[in-house]
Structures are given as C-alpha cells and as structure tokens.
Symmetry: C2
Subunit: 288 residues, 2 copies
Amino acid sequence: MNQGPLGILAGGGPLPGRVAQAARRAGRDVFIIAFEDFAEKAVIGGFPHEVVRLGAAGRIFAALRANGCRDLVLVGPVRRPSLLDLRPDAEGARLVARIGRAAFTGDDGLLAAVVRVLGEEGFNILGAHEILTEAVGRSGQLGRYAPDAQAEADILRGIDVVRALGSVDVGQGCVVQQGCVLAVEAIEGTDAMLARAGGLLRPGLGGVLVKMVKPGQDRRADLPTIGPRTITAAKAAGLRGIAFEAGGTFLTDTEACIEGADKAGLFLVGVNADLTKDKTSALPGSTQ
Amino acid sequence: MNQGPLGILAGGGPLPGRVAQAARRAGRDVFIIAFEDFAEKAVIGGFPHEVVRLGAAGRIFAALRANGCRDLVLVGPVRRPSLLDLRPDAEGARLVARIGRAAFTGDDGLLAAVVRVLGEEGFNILGAHEILTEAVGRSGQLGRYAPDAQAEADILRGIDVVRALGSVDVGQGCVVQQGCVLAVEAIEGTDAMLARAGGLLRPGLGGVLVKMVKPGQDRRADLPTIGPRTITAAKAAGLRGIAFEAGGTFLTDTEACIEGADKAGLFLVGVNADLTKDKTSALPGSTQ
C-alpha cells in the first residue's frame, strides 16, 4: 500500500501515542502534528512530529503535505480556543472565515466544522476509534463489581441528563446520586466535575459517574475518555462506579482501569447507545 | 376576612422575611415554619415562628393547624434532603410513602409532590410571587447597561442550555461566553457555579449568567433568585451581565441589584418566557 503515513493531529493525554503505536503495529508510518500547549512531549516525543500552534493552519497543512499524509486522525483533548487566543495565521484566518463564527458555539460545532474543512482540503479523516479499536470500551460489566438497583436507576437518570445536555452541544458527563444530579460537566473537564461532586455528596449510597457521546456527535472528533486517573478521582469523590457509552468511549488503558476499579470497589460498565426505545436494555444486567 | 394567618414554610435567604412583610402590609398575619439548618434567625426572628426539622411533618401540620393557617407559601431555598438525612417523624414517614421514592429524583419532582400532598392535607398553596409581587423581576433592561450583540447571542445560547437541562429537571442556570458554555448549574448553587466559571473564562469579551425557570416547573415551588450577592459574584467571575426569566425570577432586593449592576458595569435584563417560536423576541432590545 502506498498510502503514506497516518497524520495524527494530537491534543493532550496518552491517546495520541496509543494511536501512533497501533498504526505502526498495523505496519503504517505516522507523522504527528503536536498542538502546542496540549500535546505532551512524553507521549509524542518518540514519533516524527512537529509542534504547531492551533491557529497556524498554514503550517499544519504544509507539514502534513510535506510528509505525504492524506489520512488524518484527530485525537486527544484540545481546549476549544476563543477566536482571540487562536491567533490564526493567514491560512488559519481563511479557514476561520470558512468555518464561520457560528461554529465557535459549542464544542462539536467547531470540531465538526474542522473535520468538514479538512475534508474539503483533500484530507481523509478517520476516527481514532477505528485505529485504536482495542481501547474502545465494550458493552457490559468490565470488572468485578456490578451496579445494584439504585446505581442502575442513577445511571438511567444520568443518561437522560447527558443526552439532554448533548442535544445543546454541551458536556459529556454528569454525576448522579440517589436520583439527584450533583454535578454536570461543561468545559471544566471530568476530573474537576468529580472533585466538585465529592463535596456535594449526601449521606447514604454514593453516586455514579455517567459519560456518554453527544447525540449526533461526529465520532471522528473527540470521544469521551476514561483513564486510571478517572477511576482514582471517582473513588476520591465517594462514587460507586462509572457508566460509559459502549463503543463510543476510550479507556486509555483498559487493564489499568479495570484493575483500579476492582481495587477501589467501583463498578465499570459499558452501556448501549440505542436507548431511545427501551432504556433498561442499556444496562448490562438486562442484556445478559 | 377571617382567613387566618398566612403560613410561610421558610427556607434560607431573605425572601421569607420579605414575604412576611408583604403579607402584613396587606393586612394579614403570618406564622412561619422555619426549617432547621435553612431558615435564618435574623430573617424570621421578628415574626411568630417555630423552628422545625424538614422531616418532622407531624409537628409542622400540628403547628400550622394550631395557628389557624390554611393558606401556605413555600419560599427560600432548601437543599433537597436525601431520604436518609430526612429522618421523618411518623407523619413524615407516612408522607414520604405517599410522595413515593420516585419523587426523590430531581428537585421539582419532590417539590411538586410536596405541594400536591399539602393540598391533599387541606392546605391551599399560594405562590410566593403572588404575594411578593414587587420582587418579581420584570421584562426588559433594568439598569444602565444593555447587552451587545455578542451578549445577546450568549443569552440565547444560555436559554437553550437551561431549557434542555430543565427538561430533565436539573438546575436553573448556566454561564456562556462567546457561545461556549463555561459552566452549568446542578445542585451546587449559582454562587459556586459563578466562582468556577471565573476560573474558566477565556480572553476577549466576558460571559453572561442566564437563569430561567424550568419548563413545566410549579411556580409555587422554588423560583430562581438573584440578589446583590449574585451581582457581586458575577462581577468577580468576569461576567458582563445577567439575564433572568421575567415574571419568574425573584430579585431579593431589586434596587440594590440594579445599583450593584450599574456600579459593576453589568447589564441586568429580564427575558420573556415564551421563547418557543421566536427566540429573538425574548430579548428586550427587540421588544422595545
């Protein structure tokens, strides 16, 4: 195959490195665009890469083309820039104009527009979950522990809440305890939300963290991610477990996540996405 | 009129005292049930009252009946109790059974059930906004400052977000900056959300706070409230103004709010609730 190296547009966290490894294992070279202030040197340092400002679209396109990249993957969180701190170069300004200011409302509005524009520039955008298939959380109970009836009810309530939020392109997570929504995630990130929820916990059975893909979200953009740190933060917040959307969530290190959850006494369950009709079928207990 | 004193079920903040004053000005006696850990002594101390635990429904009914109260008002925030820390008395346990555990999901589910049960017990529930009419925020620009185009766009986005949240019975507020939702309110309260939003603010034009009544919310339960402290917190968070639902929001001290907003350089606008068809008509600029 003469398809050239896979271009990886890398934000923060370990996933860009995992995607690069997975591509190499499949026999494909990679070239990483490491977004300044987001991509971590320890993660991307071992691969051919160039560190570029988010707004420097001209440099990004030039580097991708110079390295023969046609297939691209966007992976790793990037905090959505304001138009002001984007400081676009000439090419970037042209793209911002094409994307339109309207896209700067909501996270996915922007990411979807970026994916569209990259496509128009002749690139082919792949989903990170298509390459790093082994890190995509599967359906059902992953560790030793399973949600009880109260936790199942909290998960279903959390799914409703995250869906409602997602319909207006906000957040991907919330914390529910005994039917009460303790915290809802906007741009602060899951760890900050968990820390806050810990302080709002009430007596009795602890809460659950629910993370879901936004309805209609382009899965080639940013998927919800759970890592060992999420497990630690959930435990510290007094939660009883984590539910994530199966097939649409990255577990950055599945084994470490399961081991951490087992040690912490937390459940870790993948719920099915097609909840529109019968929500109870989302829960692993009812599909087994 | 031999209608007996108005019974005031009082949570926190200054509004229970304001309702009591308004009732007295209208020539009616009052009797206050001051919820322990919520009602403030400085606010209710000057009126006949009894301090009662939230779960002590038997004592509450007995006190209301002993004082001849048939009309009741619920006013002032009460943090929703878990079933465990409610510690109901015998009458309370009977009511909890009647309300049903299901009502303990979502804030309004519970409040609406409480209003219903009080009605079944022979009480007549009034809305605090019907008594304290002068504290209900009106439509339009209240102070010296008006939202500009970016702020109007942020307000409309915030309305969408709060409505979506409200449809699943969560929160009443959010903070939007340049189209991006910085923070969404669950049970942490508006002040905590504002403090968080301040740390998430991005360069450029600051954000706006949007507070709305939940769709379908029983207005005899807890309405969104804005006070001078909200103005101070919004200013400290780097916001440019506050939009609230006209006719459905209490300004605990309208003059102090307007004065505070003017001093801080913030706008303060009441938006119309009937936004379903034409959202732009919600904004004061387009109705003037």
